[in-house]
Symmetry: C2
Subunit: 361 residues, 2 copies
DNA sequence: CTGTTAGCGCCTTCAG
DNA sequence: CTGAAGGCGCTAACAG
């Protein structure tokens, strides 16, 4: 494919040469003045800075990256941002990166593997100094991430991490959190607990499922394979599977959902059928999305420290960046940070003890 | 400030020179083979392509941008993404940009003006080919956007547009939408309608407020200035102001909120006070965020075609890009696209006629 | 079809 | 304190 690009060279950016000419000095001096090098006469520096300002000088990162081999920029790779999870993580990460003097560039792939690969290459070609990422639900081949490592640029995974890649990562204890959530259901009297699991390509999906299974085992509740379904995280599938559950001869009396959007979509189906939550069926989600406290009844869920996940990912990356160590981890185990979750019990799993009602005014 | 960067040049990227040497040909030939130039012997091309693959060759966009003067990259600037509005717009925009062969880079500033300025300069220094943006609520000085125009790079505003800048933009008819929403409240019998408006720095905030005022005027409802408050879009303020409203000697019987998060926070306050929605007070929001259909009662709101807003913004930018016209709009009015909104009436403003109840099973 | 040369904008020696 | 020269990786124009 040979693409002809239209020449969009309109108003020329001013370069250091332009301002060097104006001032009748060499471009080296201009460069030094601009970058804050100590060996420049104060007067010269001022002249340069003033003229630069006046001429709208905008340093060319492309050229800079070309010589410097690094750009002071970090790439962030996320699969989606329709839930509040990733936006919030990004917020936390950005906070730390900015404080460290790094700019952040975000790439979003809408759960598309091809897009993810393209974005990784884009970031690589931008010569970002590091990348933090959560892969798509489609990602089974991690070669593009290996490429990142081979280029020696630090990489940190969060949330959706990879087992086959030795990459620093920050996660929560999905297994224990799921176990605790399901135990909560068991302790509140539920016995036929269904689980809507995510795709096997996601490690936290597998871990949460294992937590679910082990909770049942621990409490000697027989496992009914018919009550456990893996799906692709699309809302349509939730509806189909949930309807299926409810129409079972022996329907579940509780649902543990892989995440909050799933739980919420499931609640919708339950309500449409005219069942009551939590009386007829209890629902528990995962992540404590913003919407979890909004739905009616309010959703019991596992809260994740999203801001901290972002912050920790950033710190981990910064650490790699500063250590200057070879980031291929051939000789060492990549560091892994595990953050705490918290089960938030709301109305979707436990009946409210008392309903207070005040009159108007 | 003179910062010393650690030399992070680890595994060297392979360049066309490396592969030229290996193959004992010139780098021009390699370049031609790689870019798909027709004048290359098929055999040579294959050799180059194979070796490139084998050596993890990753074309250096920096160098490319340096020579080509454009980067095939678009910058997207958003103030926040805690509501579903901006994520959804980005989704739509990305769809169009990708189809046109552009990569998208997102910058997020968390409503900080300084951050916005920094991000604009970053994008400029990256030499992006175009920018679509929604400014922060703090932005009153648009010099950084003027800078973009002066550099001749196309710019499109969406949602939060600027009056003092002649920039193509895509918006909805905030005024009429607000008017319709408030008329809905009036027609369903409300008379003391409060309004929580956004800051004056946001044009759509001003337009929605005007729609509110004109709806009252049109229906000869006296305007009570005490029922209208502008605030900074933080949840804490919503709570304070809403409490204030409810404690008024003559409290409002309806609220028109600048956006859905505001409406939802207000509902929370109402519920805490023990009042019923919509019986005691009706609530109407704006934008039809994902959460609008989740809250209880479900929120009446004005739906915005967020995906289309993104798509249209992208199309507008592409158009500017292709026209190659000087994007300073000194001689012409910048194009403006206005998209349709739709009032979605839900339970927060109108009592449900019948409550159907089915038994279990 | 292929090699040579020049230059994009910047920084970094190396000499003054 | 400042200038000259070289090079980062790539493409484009000009010769073959």
């Amino acid at each position: 494919m040979y693409v002809l690009y239209p020449l969009i060279m309109k108003t020329k950016y001013t370069s250091i040469i332009d301002i060097a000419k104006q001032l009748n000095i060499s471009k080296s001096t201009v460069s030094r003045a601009l970058t804050g090098h100590p060996n420049v006469h104060a007067q010269t520096r001022k002249a340069v800075l003033d003229l630069a300002q006046q001429m709208d000088y905008q340093r060319n990162s492309l050229a800079l990256g070309l010589t410097r081999h690094h750009t002071n920029t970090i790439g962030v790779l996320v699969p989606e941002f329709m839930s509040t999870y990733f936006p919030s993580v990004i917020l936390g990460a950005q906070e730390v990166f900015q404080a460290a003097g790094y700019q952040v560039v975000i790439c979003h792939n809408n759960e598309s593997y091809d897009m993810e690969v393209a974005n990784v290459k884009l970031l690589l070609s931008y010569r970002v100094d590091g990348i933090i990422a959560s892969h798509t639900k489609e990602t089974r081949n991690f070669d593009h991430f290996r490429l990142v490592q081979r280029h020696g640029i630090p990489l940190v995974f969060f949330n959706r991490v990879s087992e086959e890649l030795n990459v620093p990562n920050v996660v929560v204890d999905d297994y224990s959190a799921a176990l605790e959530a399901v135990e909560h259901l068991i302790k509140t009297g539920r016995r036929r607990i269904a689980h809507l699991a995510g795709p096997d390509s996601l490690i936290n999906s597998r871990l949460r499922r294992q937590g679910y299974l082990d909770a049942l085992k621990k409490h000697k509740i027989p496992i009914d394979p018919g009550l456990m379904l893996s799906y692709d995280l699309t809302i349509e599938k939730v509806r189909i599977y949930m309807k299926h559950f409810l129409e079972l001869p022996a329907p579940p009396d509780a649902l543990f959902a892989i995440n909050d959007p799933t739980a919420i979509a499931a609640m919708e189906v339950v309500k449409e059928k005219g069942w009551s939550i939590p009386e007829d069926i209890a629902i528990v989600g995962f992540s404590n999305d913003f919407s979890a406290q909004l739905v009616f009844p309010r959703l019991t869920t596992v809260s994740q420290p999203t801001l901290d996940i972002g912050r920790e990912s950033a710190r981990l990356l910064l650490q790699e960046l500063q250590s200057g160590a070879k980031p291929d981890y051939t000789n060492r185990k990549a560091p892994c940070v595990q953050l705490k979750t918290k089960l938030i019990i709301r109305d979707s799993s436990v009946r409210k003890p008392v309903v207070k009602k005040k009159g108007k005014k």
